[in-house]
Subunit: 346 residues, 2 copies
DNA sequence: TTGTAGGCGTTATCAG
DNA sequence: CTGATAACGCCTACAA
């Protein structure tokens, strides 16, 4: 069957192309009667509006770009985070009939600003969604803001960067986990920090400090390590910590990958988890319930965060009132207790 | 700075817009002299062609769709496969100045054909790349073929579906792994099959049979399980196998997720790997070197497979001679020996 | 509520 | 090799 145009529909329905256009775009000012008629013809002729023509005429691209840090650049096993981002974003895009452009990038790249800038200019995306740690890159954000393209941020460290952001309770829930470990009798608790560029991860450290204070525990300097989120550094720091004369009995890591590295080192060193060592992570990647032993961690609903963030972005893009309440913009994470934590050894 | 149009460039360079168009699109029939002049003006004015206008006029979308089975629908921890697909596809798209549309789908969905069909018609993609097990769905492929949109397949089971495919040596390398296990002294080797919809996985079973035969070993019926690729079924079948009166001393799984499930069950049952049991997987997901013990497996270069597949697809889309030799279309996997396999217990 | 005219910014045609 | 002019298919005014 030959592709039908808006003209064909208009002619067959006995109306003008503008009327067809109106029903296609769900605009008001069409009598219910004629709307139905047009709809019928559209179906009959299997008419599909030409996206390019529509974009050209309307000066929109119907494209949203999702920017995230390229997981392939790292020692990152479960690229689950990225997939969750994508799934959340795809869902909203679909319901808004937008297309999604995925754009992995290297936040350390000097040309990042320029690269994103040309993405905006070349692909003319109608909006951008930035995942951490990109959502913490001030100069990048300024670059985007300068183009006047709407954008939203997922858990940025700086809450003033844009009103279009979703946040997490990293700090509170990290304190909670710390208190849980203290409750199990642990007094010597180590902490492996995450990538300092990602501000939300710093909050986790703050939460750890809160939790220690609340539990009346002191933080030992040797017990705090500057990690980079990788499995490898979890392995490394665990080796250092567990080789200490007076080693910690619990290690709380800023993410699951590092916690998994700790598990691996403990295994190699013949240290039983959780009998002699408790390990906790953060993220609840799918792997967390498949490790030996399975991992106590914190679940963050990345997908729904992404959906909320994209929804407020779409509201902005489409210039309509947002239905999302501010409460929905603070996404709460929860403890997930599994096998890797237990009572402190006596 | 105001956006400049092709007219602005033409005027400033003292040529017609058609000449500018020719330069922009790298077409012949432009004097080197004027080409340079135009290029200079383009740079000066920071001219970027409007994608929508270009698409409308050229009747192309400059869009490639990547279809894969949605990993979120499964018990699939490392969504690494999908990310590798995406990375490979993005790289080629970038170099060809195409955009990539990712399209996760459910291959069991009855509306799949219709869904893909509307993707093709609505987004008017210039080409599609199908990953397994979608590349094995005959009716889907027929649906796509009927639209006359070029498409390529990644490791389809049926080699005649389209000349645009990349293949793997699943069978040969699986035989190799089996022979390796036999070489270690294992005689009682179990095999957990993968999703039957994915033909390449069946090849792995054929390879297992080859390997057993080549090693002069017999396959015991109880030792062959019909898995579904999930961690959970790895766990389950391991429990069954290891509870047998006369259990296998080695388990070869169709993928790493299931092998990881086996590892988990062995851990729970207190069975030492590799001392009492050898475990082998397939895929070499990043997790494979992070398990306890790390996993012997088979590495498949998914990313380069994807790149090759997309390159031949682009050749077709752009209607040009392919530079890819048929040899490059058979991608070879390799054994990766780690800790989970060892000599058979005596 | 509906229709008409004009333009969105390219690429394609075909003559020079 | 180069250029005028007509598509491309839809949307946005504005008018009726």
């Amino acid at each position: 069957m030959p592709k039908s145009l808006i003209y064909d529909v208009a002619q067959r329905a006995g109306v003008s192309i503008k009327t067809v256009s109106r029903v296609v775009n769900n605009e008001p000012n069409v009598r219910e009667n004629t709307r139905e008629k047009v709809l019928a013809v559209i179906k009959e002729l299997n008419y599909r509006p030409n996206a390019s023509a529509r974009k050209l005429a309307s000066q929109k691209s119907y494209l949203i770009a999702l920017l995230y840090d390229d997981p392939s650049l790292y020692d990152n096993p479960s690229s689950n985070y990225v997939l969750n981002l994508q799934q959340g974003a795809l869902r909203i895009c679909k319901s808004e009939t937008y297309d999604l452009l995925i754009h992995p990038c290297d936040y350390r790249d000097k040309n990042l600003n320029q690269e994103v800038s040309s993405l905006i200019h070349n692909s003319r995306v109608d909006g951008l969604l930035l995942a951490p740690p990109l959502s913490d890159q001030k100069s990048l954000i300024e670059t985007i803001a300068a183009t006047d393209t709407p954008f939203a941020l997922i858990s940025p460290g700086n809450k003033t960067l844009t009103p279009l952001s979703v946040f997490t309770n990293d700090r509170e829930v990290s304190a909670e986990m710390t208190e849980y470990l203290a409750f199990l009798g642990h007094k010597k608790i180590a902490f492996i920090k995450g990538d300092p560029e990602h501000k939300a991860l710093q909050e986790r450290y703050s939460g750890f400090k809160d939790g220690m204070r609340n539990s009346g525990l002191k933080i030992e300097k040797n017990f705090v390590k500057n990690g980079d989120n990788s499995f490898g550094c979890g392995e490394l720091f665990a080796k250092q910590l567990l080789s200490l004369k007076n080693p910690p009995t619990a290690i709380f890591c800023c993410n699951d990958d590092m916690a998994n590295g700790v598990l691996r080192t403990a295994y190699k060193m013949g240290i039983k988890v959780p009998d002699s060592l408790s390990v906790a992570g953060f993220d609840d990647i799918p792997l967390a319930e498949q490790t030996n032993p399975s991992l106590t961690t914190i679940r963050q609903p990345v997908r729904s965060m992404t959906e909320h963030a994209l929804e407020i972005l779409m509201d902005k893009v489409k210039n309509r009132e947002s239905k999302i309440s501010p409460d929905d913009l603070l996404i709460k994470a929860k403890l997930v207790i599994r096998e890797s934590t237990g009572k402190a050894p006596s």
